[in-house]
Subunit: 114 residues, 2 copies
């Protein structure tokens, strides 16, 4: 991974578990916080609380609003994000190391609901 | 899966997301609650709160006490569990569908810390 979020944005991303199959990150921020461009492999996201975010990849922009307690799929993608809500973001990200890319990395932006 | 926990213990296990790579379950119970024997594929577990549980597989027994907010690996295994603490158990389980078995299913019981 050339733009590992743990490296690019260490104030927000933290490794909480890793083995040969997965790496698990915690992500947290406050309203107004922004991340710099980083990459995610295929991942499962679990929201620990509600949040509202703007995700940007190149010239594509997407706003996402989610409640807490939901699990979503994140196709491998490069993006940066911005907390545009009035609550902190608290998310757990389970990165899969199988190397397969399910979607189109160029097109993917943000999570996919169940 | 012959003993799918969603089938064997629907009061506790619920599917909150599924695609071709993963299935995500929520597990919740109250002190004293017990599950019947069921199987887990290789999974990542994330604890939403602290709990204390007894896990039983055949004649092997293991007690597990965990804080909230930790991620652990669960090798594919068959077990049943019992909440022996004084708090509810609330856990998210990300099941991997890659089919690989990292450990020995017969020997595995309970989660593996980071």
């Amino acid at each position: 991974m050339t733009q590992d979020p743990v490296v690019t944005n260490p104030d927000h991303y933290r490794v909480i578990f890793e083995n040969d199959a997965v790496r698990v990150l915690s992500y947290s921020d406050m309203p107004g916080d922004k991340t710099t461009p980083h990459e995610h492999p295929n991942s499962v996201m679990y929201t620990l609380g509600p949040f509202r975010r703007r995700l940007i990849s190149g010239d594509i922009l997407r706003e996402v609003e989610l409640p807490g307690g939901v699990a979503l799929w994140l196709d491998a993608q490069e993006h940066r994000g911005e907390n545009i809500g009035d609550t902190p973001t608290n998310v757990v990200v389970v990165e899969l190391k199988d190397g397969s890319v399910r979607g189109s990395v160029e097109r993917a932006l943000g999570p996919i609901a169940a």
